[in-house]
């Protein structure tokens, strides 16, 4: 066994490879392992466990942080850079250990169908992305993985893609966190320009100043607020609960929503002194904490209660990490750990209850105590930890937060923060008590039959589903009892971001101000929690949600209006726009340009004159005839005439292509015309005849003049000379036209054939839609 750690330690970019392995398992899961989700999940658990082991081996006890970097765009100095410091170790362990637990839980929670495979694949991709976020040692790396977590979250919320609620919630979450991601990208750019680096360590060493740095700092705050669901962006998180419970437990409680907090943890030591940073933090965090608490108190769906409580707890974490004060960061790390443990336990527990008795309504949980006593006991322990009750871990960490904010030497902002945290904590206690009340409710005869109807799960699945819940409850209790040890071994290394010595976590801090505050908060909160009746308060949708929806709808609406004006669908209108713009451009260039070239030679042979004359006759014919069919044929004649001129001018390639295109165009014209009236109807004319004639004559005269002018105004030698010279030697072809197409300007051709393919698909779909419409109309006609 001693060999293994040394092998692991010898790999210089092991963590990067393991992060990649997450994505690899995810990709396999969505493709070849689609029908074997259990194998995929097993692979996933192995990868997550390997991550946890290598994080411990490389990170614990290291004298300096283990770093890894992979070049990506070396020209811009961008790469994927990881650094495994104490905070990184703790966060990576939370991500991988909880990930493995939730994945194991999910095996028994889901039916093993296609949706489950998708879940496992996305889950692994998410776990990889999240590990990337917590290990990132520069802002660019963090941005890349940050965006990946947003996308995975979007897909996981919308996992049940037949539910409109889920799809809407997914879009809200994506657009909100996506906007934050753009802010982060802007901050990356701003800092790269202003400070010349985006590495956290270098930024901390340089402590850059200036308005651009300040703007970047505020953008970072916005990014963190959107991701961690801080006011006013808090609304997306409760909606995200449309996702299955394992997703909610892992992404929207324990890990992804902490990404914003991680960002604050990395950046607040650098930017906390800048501008209004601390005020933004305290206002957003404080409002979020109180608002989330109030809304959690009004919920009867246990999962939604937990969702709002997560919002509230994230407010506290934002304050602790963002305020930029060593002891507060220490308390933040401790509370982050505590929250991850109790919240995963609670979410998974609610999942078990939902799975077993088919309801999450806290008014209908009566009698659970008798059915699953151990699980309920564990849930109560977790809920008490959430309330901050002695002797659970949540008490020690909440206590530490109060101490840190009391002592913080950052000015009046700390006092505001303290008051907000105290009020918020009262609500935390209250909603926790409310949840416990529901859990311990006496058996209610009215609802007894409902639970009886639900099928009994197998003993194995019950055991596996309940075990993480029980473990989480036990950990909350044990960590609480051993608070000082946990503080020394887990939290202190985890808060390595700050150099200041910090006071220890303790179960019994003694009778001081923060302790009294805690007791008062507990007493008031418990009273509130006991007295608030167990009914749903307020509507399900929050104000934030409806504001978001209104903005979203109005953006879509105005896009539609712009499109309906710009893309009227009227061919004459399009042609008119093209003619007007081309005409204007040509007129300007003719007026401002130099003298017109004198034409020295009218033609090279009499054949040219004849063909040109014929072409003109055909053109006049196109204009004059009434029948569409004849017009199409005459138009073909014009094309053939032009092709002949190409031949005479020594451009066989052009002529060949032109001939073939003309041939096919005529056929396509004729095929399409079967659906149109035989004649051009005078009533559909778009503008008066005089205007149309004037426009046509103008374009007809201006374009040749313009072409002549362009040719005459050449000052550099033609690029085609170089092409001709290099054609045979470098591209191995004597036909320079073809060599240009497939070699020198191959990218252009690539784009052109892509457009061609898209156009063909467009034609095919338009016709298919038209025929479907016609068919449905026909069938309606039959019915009536």
């Amino acid at each position: 066994m001693l060999v293994l750690p040394s092998v692991i330690a010898a790999q210089t970019n092991l963590l990067s490879l393991l992060v990649l392995a997450h994505f690899l398992v995810g990709a396999l899961m969505l493709t070849v392992l689609r029908r074997r989700p259990v194998i995929g999940a097993a692979f996933g658990i192995v990868v997550l466990a390997a991550m946890a082991i290598s994080v411990v081996v490389n990170g614990v006890g290291a004298s300096s942080p283990h770093t890894e970097s992979t070049d990506w765009i070396p020209e811009l100095g961008f790469g994927i850079n990881f650094a495994l410091d104490g905070f990184g170790v703790l966060m990576a362990l939370i991500v991988s250990i909880l990930g493995a637990a939730v994945l194991a839980y999910s095996l028994f929670y889901f039916e093993h169908d296609g949706t489950y495979s998708r879940f496992v694949g996305l889950f692994m991709a998410f776990a990889g992305a999240m590990t990337g976020v917590v290990l990132a040692s520069d802002l660019f790396t963090m941005f890349v993985f940050w965006e990946l977590t947003s996308i995975c979250s979007f897909l996981l919320i919308g996992l049940n893609d037949t539910s409109e609620t889920a799809r809407k919630a997914a879009v809200r979450a994506l657009l909100t966190t996506g906007a934050g991601g753009l802010c982060l990208l802007a901050a990356v750019g701003g800092l790269q320009v202003a400070a010349g680096t985006v590495s956290f360590a270098e930024l901390a060493a340089n402590s850059p100043q200036g308005s651009l740095v300040q703007a970047s700092a505020m953008l970072i705050l916005l990014a963190a607020f959107t991701k961690s669901a801080q006011f006013p962006f808090h609304f997306w998180l409760p909606g995200a609960m449309a996702a299955p419970t394992p997703v909610s437990a892992y992404l929207h409680s324990a890990t992804m929503v902490k990404a914003g907090v991680v960002l604050l943890a990395r950046t607040s030591p650098i930017f906390a002194e800048i501008g209004p940073w601390r005020w933004w933090i305290v206002l957003a965090g404080g409002i979020t904490m109180i608002l989330g608490g109030v809304r959690a108190l009004g919920q009867t769906d246990a999962k939604l209660l937990l969702a709002h409580s997560t919002v509230s707890q994230l407010g506290l974490l934002t304050i602790l990490f963002g305020i930029g004060w060593g002891p507060a960061t220490y308390a933040g790390v401790a509370h982050l750990l505590a929250h991850a443990v109790f919240k995963v336990g609670l979410f998974l527990g609610v999942g078990v209850i939902d799975h077993n008795i088919g309801t999450r309504d806290i008014r209908k949980l009566g009698g659970l105590r008798k059915k699953m006593p151990v699980t309920v006991a564990a849930l109560v322990a977790s809920a008490l930890s959430m309330a901050g009750m002695i002797p659970l871990f949540g008490f020690a960490t909440k206590e530490k937060s109060l101490v840190a904010l009391l002592d913080a030497e950052v000015g009046g902002v700390a006092t505001v923060a303290l008051i907000a945290v105290l009020i918020g904590s009262v609500f935390s206690v209250a909603y926790s008590v409310r949840l416990i009340r529901g859990l311990l409710l006496p058996q209610d005869d009215e609802h007894a039959h409902e639970s009886a109807e639900h099928h009994e799960a197998s003993a194995v699945s019950k055991f596996v589903l309940s075990s993480p819940v029980i473990v989480a409850g036990a950990v909350s209790l044990v960590f609480g009892l051993l608070a000082s040890t946990v503080g020394k071994w887990l939290v202190a290394p985890g808060s390595s971001l700050e150099q200041e010595a910090v006071s220890k976590l303790a179960l019994w801090p003694g009778l001081n101000t923060p302790f009294v505050m805690s007791i008062v908060v507990l007493a008031v909160g418990a009273t509130v929690g006991m007295t608030v009746p167990l009914v749903q308060k307020g509507s399900a949708a929050s104000i934030g949600e409806s504001v978001f929806d209104r903005v979203y709808d109005s953006v879509i609406g105005s896009a539609k209006r712009v499109t309906s004006v710009a893309q009227s669908g009227s061919l004459p209108a399009y042609v008119a726009v093209v003619i007007a713009i081309v005409g204007a451009a040509i007129t300007v260039s003719l007026v401002t340009g130099g003298d017109l070239p004198t034409i020295t030679r009218f033609s090279e042979s009499w054949v040219q004159v004849v063909i040109a004359a014929l072409t003109v006759v055909f053109t006049l014919g196109v204009v004059k005839v009434r029948l569409r069919f004849t017009a199409a044929l005459l138009l073909g004649g014009v094309g053939f005439g032009v092709a002949m001129l190409f031949v005479l001018h020594g451009a066989p390639d052009l002529a060949l292509t032109q001939l073939l295109v003309e041939t096919l165009t005529i056929v396509v014209f004729l095929l399409a015309m079967r659906r149109m009236p035989r004649d051009f109807s005078p009533s559909s004319q778009w503008a008066p005849r005089s205007i149309r004639v004037a426009a046509a004559v103008f374009i007809g005269i201006a374009v040749p003049l313009f072409a002549a002018n362009v040719v005459a105004s050449r000052t550099e030698s033609s690029v085609s000379e170089e092409y001709v010279a290099r054609s045979l030697t470098e591209a191995g072809g004597r036909n320079v036209v073809n060599v240009i197409l497939v070699d020198f300007r191959g990218f252009d051709t690539m784009g052109e054939i892509t457009v061609l393919a898209l156009a063909a698909m467009g034609v095919a779909n338009l016709v298919r839609m038209a025929s479907r419409e016609r068919r449905s109309k026909t069938s309606e006609g039959v019915v009536s």
Binding site: L660, N735, V737, V742, I753, R768, V782
Partner: protein, 152 residues
């Protein structure tokens, strides 16, 4: 509609096949003489147009033509692979490689990698022509038939 069996047989048996041969020739000579994938593709397309106009159907070896869009996809794929393959061997995208082989009795044969790109264009163009033909032709026929039924 009056149909000429002889004309149909002639077109089906010979014209399409000869056209494809000519088109392949035109495509491959394109690097050194007038021609190329675009023109070649159009020739095959034109042959199918003729086939359709004589018999009102699109068949290859008497079997109905299915999924012309796959030709488009195949062509695009071929072109993209040709564009990015040089990256794998350390050259820049689209860089041409010239193979020179000397085959007994024929002499030296020169082959340029960009021909694959041109073949991609060839298939895209055939596919596009056929897609348009199927959409505006056969689907259009079906619409006309529906109309006939509903008006009765």
């Amino acid at each position: 509609m009056k149909r000429s069996v002889i004309l149909e047989e002639l077109v089906d048996r010979w014209l399409v096949k000869v056209s494809v041969l000519v088109a392949v020739y035109i495509t491959f000579r394109g690097h050194n003489a007038p021609g190329g994938g675009f023109a070649g593709g159009l020739i095959v397309g034109a042959a199918f147009v003729l086939r359709y106009l004589t018999g009102r159907q699109l068949t290859i070896a008497r079997r109905p033509l299915q999924h012309p869009s796959r030709l488009v996809g195949f062509g695009l794929l071929l072109a993209i692979v040709t564009v990015i393959t040089p990256l794998a061997v350390g050259a820049t995208a689209l860089e041409s490689h010239i193979w020179k082989l000397s085959i007994p009795a024929i002499g030296e044969v020169k082959y340029v990698s960009s021909t694959f790109f041109d073949l991609g264009v060839f298939f895209v163009v055939i596919g596009v022509v056929l897609m348009v033909l199927v959409s505006l032709g056969s689907e259009g026929d079906r619409i006309s038939v529906d109309d006939g039924r509903s008006s009765q």
